[in-house]
Amino acid sequence: MNAELGSRPPTNRPNNLASTKRVPCPWNKSLRGRVGLHPELSDIVGFLGNNRDMTEESEGRPSHARRAKSKKPTLSPEIQKRIGRQLQDLYVGVVQQGFPDRFTELLRRLDAAEASSE
């Protein structure tokens, strides 16, 4: 009974409690992934400087739902931007952490050693 249903979400179908087994379903995964990401991160910074073809899309679920049907998730500009932004956040976070004293100390000693050998 499942075969002919394909992967299109049913709009109004009686519950079939007999088949509660979860089977991986690529488009659903990608759809859920999209829905799960934070919407507030969507407006910033082109992903990796690739700003080509940035179309202004609202957070429109219906268009996502339709597109997410394809097996390979397409990289929507907003997803790209979001990931790019996160990557930068991650990196900048580390840069701003500062660094252990051992580096200052190491360089001080190298400098001192060189001074005394001259």
């Binding site: 075969a3 087994k21 379903c25 659903n28 859920r32 997803i79 996160q86 990196y91 200052t104 001080r108």
Partner: protein
Amino acid sequence: MTDGSRRKMILAAVPRLRAFAISLTGSADRADDLVQETVLRAWTHFDSFQMGTNFNAWLFTILRNLFRSDYRKLKREVADSDGFYSQRMLSIPEQTGNVELAELRSALAELPLDQREALILIGADGRSYEEAAQICGCAVGTIKSRVNRARTRLARMLLIHGAEDFGPDAETAAVLSRDAPAP
């Protein structure tokens, strides 16, 4: 020449070197060892730096090459089948407690090394393609294609990870339970 300029130049580069090293190794401890090696190498080979060229990129090149040779050695000793790097990637100290950043860290660790370093240099460190190519010792076109592949792969992984981490909402769950194709 001990006016401290060499010291200052190197020290100023340490934060970015660390970020690069942490992104490569996935481990703050290993990253600091790598940065220390880089600092020592840069100090002793300072004469081979060509003034007027990009000092920071020179340091990145040293660090990257050190990492590469360590990585090769390590791979010979213990195959990375136990996911050494992947696991370590997860142990980077939390900066924000942000779930998405944690996911990104683990996804990054799953990228092939070539792609990971290209992506980090371009997408996180903000290098030009030319600088990244210089640091990685390859052609600009190679960097571009690695970045593209990394980007696609990362996005795909994150979409899938995201799906696993966020529980299905009621509607999706219903669809999954009723409509999933038979295996």
